[in-house]
Amino acid sequence: MSALSDKYMRGIPMKPYDMIREGLFILAGVAIVVILLSAVWGFPRIPPLTLKQVAITAPVAFTERTLSYFDGQSGLQTYGPPYTGDRENAQRVGPICPACWTGVAHPTDFRQALVINPLKSAAVLNPDIATALDSYDKATPAQQKAWTDAYGAALGKATAKDGKLILATGDYGPVPTLMNGMLKLAQAGLLEGALVQGANPNYAPYNTDFTLPLYYLGGDRIMGTVADHFDEQGGQWGMSHVAGPYPGAWWLWPYAFLYQIPAIGNADAADLIAGMIIAAFGLILFFLPFVPGLNRLPYIIPVYRLIWRDWYAKYPSGDPTRDPANSGFDSDRGQFPSTKPG
């Protein structure tokens, strides 16, 4: 033993030990448990929701989402850091605004990236879309707004048949052509690809940033419906569990619990408040050895007496140097005598 451990263990009875053998036995045990759990329960294999699925099964909801990007009404376009420069929606508690401090790391024009770029790609194949884009660009802002407002109002009452939108007749200008272009692109299964490659055309074969297709459907109506089905909304303990009969990230329960408190869960800065509470809680645990009062809890809650019950049966004070004659510890066999504690 080293000088340090020699000194510390002076007067302590020792018993034979084989660390590597113990480690290998435990590794084998853990491997068996993991294999059995995997064989019986497997793994959540619910595939992601594709834009194609949504565009085919819910064309109205898909188009509403698309229109919100096109007319700039989506939450993403005023999200704030790290995507847009508008800081009004950045979560803050008093002067604390980490999102503001770290800034716009990934500046994104969501109208351009989510709608215009894919439409320009589609326009190469469909001249009607090119004409519609041109007409829209040449119109005055007031005219553009009148078209998108009228189209949005009609969309609220629209129905769908065979994946096609059925709207009331109205003056929507080129907007229906553009929105139908996006719908068809998605229904053909081409929209994810167009979004990913359009984000950085110069590196098209190597693009691996899936931000745009992952955010396209938004967190409320479309994805929220699926999340509701799997009880995965923030108010349903969020990401601390997964879809299906799996335990998930249960170790995040303390974090997920905070969102169940209405004062936190309904707050504009819910994520920041929850994060700050967890950070404070984490710091207390981290520095627990130095927190007066809390570092005495193990003495007040004497679970340690249960853990070391054999030891205290032999050495009631806990210190063998005070009463070595009573120990009866067989250091050759590494065992305590069979007498009962008491």
Binding site: Y8, A31, V34, W41, G218, P289, P298, W308
Partner: protein, 207 residues
């Protein structure tokens, strides 16, 4: 004195072969609770083994082949075992006030491992390529942004994969190595004496 000599001297004082590969253990190490740390380490070993296995064959393999899906499931369940054992280990160390006698460093490093593992776990969830990773990418963006972590691009698969299998994995591995070094250097903390009212001489001198 050369660096090698200094290192030799340091190891003689702090981690001899008997410390690193002990053949005897204090008699008070006599509870099932002492296994929780080893179970956590074994689960971590399983995570590295299944993770390396999946890295070799790639993302499509773990979805499309039955063996790949099984290894993926093993990775998932090893995480569950890891956290169950880690939390039991932390509770065990709390109730034995295991930070005593200069072992606060081991306690601090343990929490650093836990914190690094949370980031590793979140990045792993986002890499699953299933509904859950898609939903968590959508929901997580608000939390990441609010906490000032939005500068990391959590949706760039190449970046996220590298963080998960290299950066976070290395952080956990290095911190776990430091944790083990401290554990073996200092040995298991002695039982509490007189309900924690007094310190014994050896405890003081070992600090």
């Amino acid at each position: 004195m050369s660096i090698d000599q200094r290192l030799q001297s340091y190891l003689k004082r702090n981690l001899t072969l008997e410390d690193a590969l002990p053949t005897k253990m204090p008699a008070y190490v006599n509870s099932f609770g002492y296994f929780f740390g080893t179970i956590t380490l074994a689960a971590l070993a399983m995570l590295f083994m299944t993770g390396i296995w999946m890295s070799i064959f790639g993302p499509a393999w773990r979805h499309e082949s039955s063996l790949g899906a099984f290894v993926n499931a093993m990775h998932f369940w090893a995480v569950e075992v890891f956290y169950l054992a880690a939390i039991l280990h932390i509770l065990f160390k709390f109730f034995t006030a295991a930070w005593r006698d200069g072992r606060w460093r081991t306690w601090l490093v343990g929490w650093l491992i836990f914190a690094a593992s949370i980031f590793s776990g979140i990045s792993g969830t986002l890499l699953q390529q299933n509904w859950d990773s898609q939903w968590n990418a959508q929901q997580g963006k608000d939390a990441f942004a609010a906490l000032g972590l939005g500068w990391l691009n959590w949706n760039d698969y190449a970046s996220l994969l590298t963080l998960h299998i290299a950066v976070f994995a290395l952080m956990v591995a290095l911190l776990a190595a430091a944790h083990l070094f401290l554990i073996r250097r200092e040995g298991p903390v002695r039982p509490i004496v007189d309900g924690g009212q007094v310190r014994i001489e050896n405890e003081e001198s070992a600090r």
